[in-house]
């Protein structure tokens, strides 16, 4: 379980968070909502340390990341923590030089040293799960937004993360694609994945949330 305790974050003079506590409980879906600039993406990115926090601690036992660690030590712990989480970005961020299959197998092969054949087998079943099994040899630039986002979800799941972080996964998509992606996310929730999602879509938020955090 990821725990955030007494988390603080400021940008210059502006205090974004102070003394924030949050638990991502296994099997449950936490939805973070709030208006633009309320810091909901920053909060999500602090969970996997793409943003550093200024106070408090982020914990994914036994990894403990207090504020103010020296850079090298912070970097080591942050990488260890990220290896147990997955993330889906608003803009997909598939790797343009790799085809769909290689996008999904990259992290297992490089980070977890899974042999290529095993990684590909697992990738194919994940792509099946998100309905993209037919696209393995295509390149990202040739995918629609909804297709790209579903591949991005498969990629994020490939390292078997304990928590999947979703940063506005549907806000760049047209309604049809949104429905596809929402269906996949609902599927994951039904299978018992632990999810944390940022969204500004109240309908989607309320539909999926077990826990709802509203920032202002």
């Amino acid at each position: 379980m990821i725990e955030l305790r007494g988390l603080g974050k400021r940008f210059g003079e502006r205090v974004l968070f102070e003394g924030l506590d949050l638990d991502l409980v296994p099997g449950r879906t936490t939805v973070i909502m709030g208006r633009s600039g309320s810091g909901k993406s920053t909060l999500l990115r602090m969970i996997n340390q793409l943003e550093r926090h200024d106070a408090g601690v982020v914990r994914l036992s036994p990894i403990e990341i207090p504020a103010g660690l020296p850079h090298a030590e912070w970097s080591r712990r942050a990488t260890a923590l990220r290896r147990r989480t997955g993330m889906v970005f608003q803009g997909y961020q598939l790797f343009g030089h790799l085809n769909v299959l290689d996008n999904v197998t990259l992290a297992p092969r490089i980070v977890q040293r899974v042999p290529r054949a095993a990684a590909e087998q697992q990738a194919r079943s994940l792509l099946e799960l998100v309905g993209m099994a037919q696209a393995v040899t295509r390149f990202p630039a040739r995918l629609s937004g909804g297709e790209a986002q579903r591949v991005a979800i498969a990629r994020a799941l490939a390292t078997q993360p304990e928590v999947l972080l979703l940063d506005e996964p549907t806000s760049a998509l047209d309604p049809g694609s949104t429905a596809d992606v929402v269906r996949v996310i609902g599927d994951l929730k039904a299978r018992g994945f632990t999810l944390a999602m940022v969204t500004h879509d109240p309908v989607l938020g309320h539909q999926l949330a077990d826990e709802l955090i509203e920032l202002d």
Binding site: R82, G86, F89, G91, Q93, H97, A107, F139, A141
Partner: protein, 496 residues
């Protein structure tokens, strides 16, 4: 008036008038009042040079004195024009000077191209060896060893005629001697006047054997100007007869017994009939393999230098963007230093500069590859820096979110995409390097352009050889451009 006096006056008038009557200076020179003489003052002692000890004296040399004496005799100003020694014929042909007066020897190849005056000096050859070289008394003792020489000189010709030597060609006697001192070459052969004049600069060198061979310095004029040649011949004859020539040579410690033969009829008329010789023919059976070899060398140097430049350039760019602060500064300094100074200076420093340090000597090929590689790495680094910066930061975040370390993210995600963006500008750079590689000729590498120069100098066929040489360059660069374009098209199809 006595008959004797009349006879004396007549004789006097004939003497002064003899010159203009026999061979008057062509009218255009008399009218202009100027004859421009081409010579190379770089490393030009004792011919024409700047005396480092007394720069205020301006240009000095025995040929400066000779030119002055000729000018006074012919009633015109002899004005010097600077030209590289190896290109004197072309400079003359183009009309940028009227006379070549620069220790210029009437080699067979040159006799096809220009018209030579009667010899004004007879010189011998002096072999000089490095301080470490003990067993050498003559050229025959140098079989299998490297001997440096000024390109296209009499000395060069003699070395080529001696089997078994590894002849290294230089554009200046100074650098040829330099490479004997630092041990790259065993010996250097040069005209005796040059050897004597350079000795104070290279006290470590040892002259071995007696001076040998005898050959001539002559002035050269364009083939179509026999009148000018005859006027110069007459003037030289006059300077020889009235003792001016001997005075000048004695002042420079250059009068040797052999000079007594300058007045011999056969010496004086040795090159008088050159005007009827035919222009040089190209022996393609010899020229094409030589150009081909030069092309291969160009290709080898370019490819090796570029591989080096790509790897180093990428390292420099990554250090500049992602390295620790002190290394970032180093990367910036590297790029600015290498881009901001001429590659010619860098090459000369690498080859001759390092050559002066024990244990740091590079072969000409090594220095050429290293110099081009180091220089182009600076340009490549800037291309990669731009390309790396163009990859969105979110791509790196996406890789890091998957648990890749910073280094892994760069290696797996950012760099491969940046290299694709750099492909077009990099190909461009490679083609530029490919052509710029001809600059390594300054450190004695005979690549395609240098080979062209040498062949063209010998035959005078600048145009046809130039076209063939360009053909060789295109044969090598076009397939490369084509391959790069195909690769880019493939990437476009992938949308990558």
């Amino acid at each position: 008036m006595s008959r004797v006096l009349v006879a004396l006056m007549l004789a006097g008038a004939m003497l002064t008038g003899a010159l203009s009557a026999q061979a008057p200076l062509p009218e255009r020179y008399r009218e202009a009042g100027v004859i421009r003489w081409g010579a190379d003052a770089e490393g030009g002692a004792p011919f024409v040079y700047l005396d480092a000890g007394q720069p205020a004296r301006g240009e000095v040399g025995f040929e400066v004195d000779l030119a002055k004496a000729l000018g006074e005799l012919l009633g015109v100003e002899f004005r010097r024009v600077q030209a590289p020694y190896e290109n004197l014929v072309q400079v003359l042909d183009r009309g940028d000077c009227d006379v070549v007066l620069n220790g210029f020897e009437p080699t067979p190849a040159r006799r096809d191209l220009v018209r030579f005056s009667r010899p004004y000096y007879i010189f011998q050859q002096q072999l000089s060896v490095g301080p470490q070289v003990r067993d050498v008394r003559s050229l025959a003792d140098l079989v299998g060893r490297r001997v440096g020489v000024l390109g296209q000189s009499r000395s060069h010709e003699l070395l080529r005629a001696q089997p078994g030597l590894e002849v290294v060609v230089y554009e200046s006697n100074v650098t040829a001697y330099e490479d004997v001192v630092n041990g790259r070459n065993a010996a250097s052969l040069a005209d005796l006047p040059i050897a004597r004049a350079m000795r104070p600069l290279f006290p470590q060198l040892v002259d071995v054997g007696e001076p040998f061979d005898a050959f001539y310095y002559c002035m050269a004029v364009r083939r179509g100007e026999p009148d000018l040649q005859r006027a110069l011949d007459a003037a030289l004859g006059e300077l020889l007869a009235n003792g001016s020539l001997e005075r000048i040579y004695r002042a420079w410690d250059l009068w040797v017994p052999a000079e007594a033969r300058l007045g011999d009829a056969e010496v004086a008329s040795a090159f008088a009939d050159d005007g009827v010789r035919a222009a040089g023919a190209i022996d393609w059976g010899m020229a094409l393999p030589l150009l081909g070899l030069g092309a291969l060398r160009t290709l080898g140097i370019s490819v090796a230098a570029f591989v080096f430049a790509v790897v180093l350039g990428l390292v420099v760019a990554l250090l500049r963007l992602h390295g620790p602060r002190p290394l970032r500064w180093c990367a910036v300094a590297y790029v600015e230093l290498l881009r901001g100074t001429p590659i010619l200076v860098q090459l000369l420093l690498l080859y001759y500069g390092l050559g002066q340090i024990e244990g740091m000597q590079l072969t000409a090929m090594q220095a050429g590859v290293l110099g081009l590689g180091l220089n182009y790495a600076a340009y490549e680094a800037e291309i990669y820096r731009g390309a790396l910066s163009a990859i969105p930061r979110a791509q790196r975040e996406a890789a890091m979110a998957l648990g890749l370390t910073t280094a892994q993210s760069l290696r797996q995600v950012v760099v491969p995409q940046a290299l694709r963006l750099s492909l077009a500008p990099s190909t461009n750079d490679f083609i530029a390097l490919f052509k710029d590689s001809s600059i390594v000729m300054v450190i004695t590498v005979v690549e395609l352009t240098k080979q062209y120069q040498m062949l063209a100098n010998v035959t005078g066929r600048f145009i046809v050889l130039g076209l063939v040489t360009s053909g060789f360059y295109l044969l090598m660069s076009l397939p490369l451009a084509y391959a790069a374009r195909r690769f880019e098209q493939k990437l476009d199809r992938d949308g990558a």
